[in-house]
Amino acid sequence: MPKIVVDVMPKAELLDPQGKAVAGALARLGNTAFSDVRVGKRFELTVDGAVDAEVLASVRAIADDLLSNGVIEDVVDITVLDESGAHSGAGASGALA
């Protein structure tokens, strides 16, 4: 069954204490190539049936109303994966978000 993937990130201008902690751990482990880490969330919604315009519209609404809080987070991408897990043409564009 196709899946719709919603990616949510903390707003760029806000402190991300989780990312800061991970960045600190990386530095302690000797990984010096990275100047910053930010930690977000990935939601995978398995669709019961075909992904049509109506489903995509409802995912956009869900992404804004429940999966993210616009005060502290941004929905950065909404992607459709087909049965094989490959990006399908329908919604592979980040513009969907």
Partner: protein, 233 residues
């Protein structure tokens, strides 16, 4: 007839019983409300207590803010019914858009538990009218995600309209912008704060004071204020 204050219990609420007790200490009747109901049982005011509703999955307070009773709480708040959100309850109020801004993980990344000094900056809300302007109070604070944030524009509006109700004094325990510990809505009937007034209502169980250990009862005035504002309506 005594004033009835509802305290909503969500799956994962921790401080609902403490909040009920605080209501009784202040002279009101505490009414237990259930998250899955659409019924506020005709209460005169509502408290959303602290805890970790729904395990704080998704975001703190996010799933609770969509629970059945919250539709009634939002409608009541819009009618002017006093609503107080403590800690997780404050997070629910921001998620439900009854209060502006949001709460994020503490800037230092650690859970913090301490007796916290606050300055009461707005004494015209339903929940703070018993304090004097600028009064400093000490109540417990315990949170991992209590960093108050809002856009620069929102912060400016809140400050300009005097809607910052409580501000941290001495230390800023969680990286909250402008040291904000609590805010109110335009009407002043909805108040949210991260620290816990319900844990400072009975001598012997509150924060230490200069007089005696655990004798602090500075939180009681919050609950007494709501009862007073309801009597004066």
């Amino acid at each position: 007839m005594s004033t009835r204050v509802g305290v909503v219990t969500f799956p994962g609420s921790l401080d609902d019983r403490d909040a009920q007790r605080a209501v009784r200490f202040a002279g009101g009747e505490a009414v237990a409300l259930w998250h899955g109901d659409h019924d506020l049982q005709g209460v005169d005011a509502v408290v959303l207590p602290g805890g970790f509703s729904y395990g704080d999955y998704l975001r703190c307070g996010a799933i609770a803010s969509h629970s059945p009773i919250m539709r009634e709480v939002v409608a009541a708040a819009e009618r002017g019914v006093p609503v107080l959100g403590i800690c997780n309850g404050f997070q629910m109020l921001t998620e439900a858009h009854l209060l502006p801004g949001g709460l994020i993980r503490n800037d230092h990344g650690s859970f913090v538990c301490r007796d916290q000094v606050l300055r009461v900056e707005n004494t015209s809300t339903a929940w703070t009218n018993g304090y004097t302007a600028g009064q400093e109070i000490t109540i417990p604070l315990k949170n991992g995600e209590g960093g108050y944030i809002a856009s620069a524009e929102t912060l400016e509006r809140l400050e300009g309209e005097g809607r910052v109700v409580f501000r941290y004094v001495g230390v800023n325990p969680n990286g909250s912008l402008n040291d904000i510990a609590g805010v109110t809505n335009e009407r002043g009937n909805v108040v949210g704060l991260m620290p816990h007034p319900e844990h400072a209502v009975e001598a012997g169980f509150g924060p230490d004071t200069a007089l005696a250990m655990r004798s602090g009862v500075d939180g009681l005035t919050i609950f007494a204020s709501a009862l007073r504002s309801l009597l004066s309506v």
